[in-house]
């Protein structure tokens, strides 16, 4: 179709009018589309943001490989070190200490360095073996190593444990439970509670021990048979110098010691104990010559009470050897020791003042001693303590037992 000039002009005018003026419904549609586009843009930004966060929180393949490698190394290391098998466990514990002593008119030296590793081994829930090596530096620089204890225990049931080997003497409380330096609240053992004093330190034998309930109270017991003590003669060989109540594998009298301890806890913070033992002892003159046997008795009582920050202790122990007229050392005698101690842990601090009184009596004047001790401890941690102590000692004039002493000690249990 062909348009003439007039028709073409009219069509052009309509076209211009259609392009220049949009209707109202078209504007609304555009606004709606724009809003949708803005909404989509916001959602896109949020998705990108979430993706970034997810990337940060998610381990990469390299991360997973690194962890797998580490686990493999740990497993390999554990398998190499687990020589005890799947049913056994081992644990290393112990304690170490060092100390300085200044005695009036006497020693002024760092007089204590010791390391006491304790090894624990356990098979399932039934067998338990424990041993402690006492490693102590001597005055001349030599190192003395002793087997403090090594015993095997069998948990028969909830109330009975059978034990055998060398064990800390169940007679009394201090030697068995409190003598390690990181447990002892004073920088020295009470008079008579050290080695070769009045309190038995250890024995070799076997027995049973455990605990049970008596109504609302708790009872503890230990009953054992052991080789018992040996007798030590003086240099002249005509007196009994000391009772060596440290377990050995010999028994000159050939009679086993029957001993034990029974304790009652009427309250959780109060323990009352009594101990006793009886046996025969004989002087070993050496060369296979052993004298006839004579009586030996040991008895003791102990108390422990805690109330708030207070810790109160007390113990009495006595060993007696009978007379024997035919012996090279006919006179027997009694060695006894007692102490009372009060400590108070100042609340909210590591400070702990300690007051201790002790007395050791013996048939020999040069062994007797009375002591009053005053100490101040600072607990760096529950198992690490710095101790400062002062002993006022009274004994035979001119002997070390009569000289006052200042002590500084640091002990760490692990």
């Amino acid at each position: 179709m062909k348009l003439n000039n007039k028709q073409a002009a009219v069509a052009g005018a309509f076209a211009l009018l259609a392009g220049a003026a949009q209707p109202a419904w078209a504007d609304a549609e555009t606004d709606k589309l724009r809003a949708e586009i803005e909404q989509l843009k916001r959602e896109m930004r949020e998705l990108r943001s979430m993706l970034e966060r997810q990337k940060q929180d998610t381990a990469t393949k390299q991360d997973v490989q690194a962890v797998q490698s580490e686990v493999a190394q740990v497993r390999s290391s554990a398998q190499r070190s687990d020589m005890l098998g799947a049913n056994s466990m081992a644990h290393l514990a112990g304690y170490g200490d060092f100390g300085y002593a200044r005695r009036r008119n006497g020693e002024r030296a760092f007089n204590l360095v010791s390391f006491n590793p304790i090894f624990h081994f356990q098979y399932k829930d039934s067998l338990f073996f424990e041993t402690e090596l006492e490693t102590v530096l001597q005055a001349d620089g030599a190192t003395e190593v002793g087997l403090e204890y090594a015993n095997l225990n069998y948990f028969v049931n909830d109330y009975v444990t059978l034990f055998g080997g060398r064990f800390l003497s169940p007679i009394g409380f201090f030697r068995q439970n409190l003598h390690p330096s990181w447990l002892n609240k004073f920088a020295s053992a009470p008079p008579g509670f050290g080695h070769d004093g009045a309190a038995p330190t250890s024995d070799v034998g076997a027995g049973a021990r455990g605990g049970f309930h008596l109504g609302s109270a708790k009872a503890k017991y230990a009953l054992y048979l052991g080789n018992g003590p040996r007798l030590e003669l003086n240099a002249a060989g005509n007196e009994i110098e000391a009772i060596m109540a440290e377990g050995g594998t010999s028994n000159p009298a050939k009679t086993l010691l029957l001993g034990g301890r029974f304790a009652l806890q009427p309250l959780p913070n109060l323990e009352l104990g009594v101990s006793a033992g009886t046996s025969k002892v004989a002087v070993d003159l050496g060369g296979g010559v052993i004298e006839p046997e004579r009586n030996y008795r040991v008895s003791g009582a102990d108390l422990g009470y805690r109330w708030r920050g207070f810790d109160l202790r007390g113990e009495y122990i006595r060993q007696r050897v009978g007379n024997l007229d035919t012996s090279v050392a006919p006179d027997g005698g009694a060695w006894s020791a007692r102490y009372a101690q009060a400590a108070y842990r100042i609340p909210g601090s590591g400070w702990e003042p300690v007051l201790r009184w002790g007395r050791f009596t013996s048939p020999h004047e040069d062994q007797k001693q009375k002591q009053l001790g005053l100490g101040l401890n600072y607990w760096v941690a529950a198992n690490a303590v710095a101790k400062l102590g002062y002993e006022r000692n009274r004994g035979l004039a001119g002997t070390a037992n009569d000289a006052n002493r200042l002590l500084v000690q640091f002990a760490y249990g692990f």
Partner: protein, 101 residues
């Protein structure tokens, strides 16, 4: 019969009379005590009480976090002997320590 022989006889009798539980716990057998302990909701409370009442008799209280579960297990065997704990007390304290470290 002297005292030593009497003591040996007493220990043997004690072991035989009280040995039933031990014989029931043969190697490889299930551990009824351990399973029962896990299912006992009061064990934690009993353990906390026994822990507070017994441990401080000799030493300062240790933080349960000082040792791992496997370490506490063997330490508790040592303390059971040293402190005269019953087996139940030892298991309760172990349960408390394992849940608190």
């Amino acid at each position: 019969m002297n005292l030593s022989k009497l003591a040996v006889a007493s220990l043997a009798t004690l072991s035989i009379v009280s040995g039933g539980n031990a014989l029931a716990q043969q190697p490889g057998a299930p551990k009824p005590a351990a399973a029962q302990q896990r299912a006992d909701p009061a064990a934690f409370a009993r353990g906390a009480k026994a822990w507070a009442g017994n441990c401080a008799q000799c030493h300062n209280m240790r933080d349960p976090k000082d040792f791992r579960d496997d370490q506490w297990k063997i330490i508790m065997s040592h303390m059971r002997i040293r402190a005269g704990l019953t087996g139940q007390e030892a298991r309760d304290i172990l349960r408390f320590l394992e849940a608190s470290n």
